[in-house]
Assembly symmetry: C2
Homo-oligomer: 225 residues x 2
């Protein structure tokens, strides 16, 4: 039976917001009593929940969101970084087997923080040295399990080390149920938005036993057997 793990951050009014800035709210525009239907408008930060950063986020001449492609990548590795205290450095990554073309998802203690409530300012991030190391390994995608890739680093060096090399950054993943030893395929689909610095996305992992959140794809005739 084919299963997948939803690693997308649930979007709702009480979700965690980056630095507690309001990031997601809904306005009801039609209702059953008056219109016989329900209709809403949503407002969100382009960086709310799971999203892909475009280079334009930190580089003025960088590509924008219309150039973000869908990600369908079989070579996805979830790295166990749950013991890292503050920032993932090059030294923390050297112990892992990382190859050119890899899709690297950084599973940290962030994954055990709640998806709703207050922002955790002391979240574990990717240090500039860690980003430079991943860039030197020529990975394709780097994902992290909180709403930012870095913090307290003037000039956003971790973002720039990756984006300047064409490496995609996914922020806001939920990796609590992703097992570092399993082999996964990542599917991450950003909205097709023109001209922005990021795009909200839905992301899932295929394969691997994930008892709590896994959903059977079998009745959906999966194309990947």
């Amino acid at each position: 039976m084919k299963r997948y793990l939803d690693i997308s951050w649930p979007l709702c009014a009480d979700m965690v917001h980056y630095k507690d800035l309001s990031a997601f709210y809904v306005t009801q525009t039609k209702n059953f009593a008056e219109h016989g239907m329900f209709q809403s408008t949503l407002c969100m930060s382009s960086h709310a929940g799971t999203h892909i950063d475009a280079p334009f986020h930190v580089m003025q001449d960088g590509q924008r969101s219309e150039n973000l492609r869908v990600i369908i990548e079989a070579k996805c590795k979830v790295l166990d970084c749950t013991n890292v205290q503050k920032a993932i450095s090059a030294d923390d990554l050297r112990v892992h087997n990382i190859e050119a073309g890899d899709i690297i998802l950084l599973k940290t203690s962030n994954s055990f923080l709640p998806a709703t409530g207050s922002f955790e300012y002391q979240f574990v991030y990717l240090a500039a040295s860690g980003a430079e190391y991943l860039a030197s390994k020529r990975v394709k995608v780097v994902g992290i399990d909180y709403l930012g890739l870095e913090r307290e680093q003037p000039g956003h060096p971790s973002h720039k080390a990756l984006l300047s090399q064409g490496i995609m950054i996914i922020e806001g993943l939920r990796l609590e149920h992703a097992q570092p030893d399993d082999r996964y395929t990542l599917l991450c689909f950003p909205l097709r938005i023109i001209g922005l610095e990021a795009a909200p996305a839905r992301a899932i992992l295929l394969f691997g036993p994930c008892p709590e959140e896994a959903v059977s794809l079998s009745e959906h005739r999966p194309i990947i057997q």
Copy 2:
């Protein structure tokens, strides 16, 4: 070489809005001059561009957006309905080979309307008889190439005929380059939103030669050969 066709509606300020109601706008919240980065907030109708309707859109006790699953479906058929003038009826559908479990995308003359500019009030829609016919065939998904599935039908009978049977509705597809005779796999990923009546989505078709908009997946190590 593996290719895909992006059938998602591009989201931008001048995109076509349902009945010309404002549906997508962006606010810049940080900029390079002051903050050394670009950051934005976006507001959109839950029904802007490509989206999946949840049953709660037209049925007060229907399921909401958190129950919308990602679609990965190999049995996708693009039906040529480009000669239909006003509404797709059961008779228009009887000429096609439709089987239980099919993913049906209705390609109409809507696909040749521009994605930006004014709303076309006379768009081709799915008549109640057509929806009932598709429900009787036990298809899984029905997609259409404009921002609504129906119009001028009090009580939304086309929506209800499908949603009440657990058939998913995708609105706002762009099928100009989709060929009715080709075999496709549909991947449609809605945002993971809690509690709403619809969710914006990114949708692509795998397989099939699509010279203008097709993108090579080969360098992305596609898992579907």
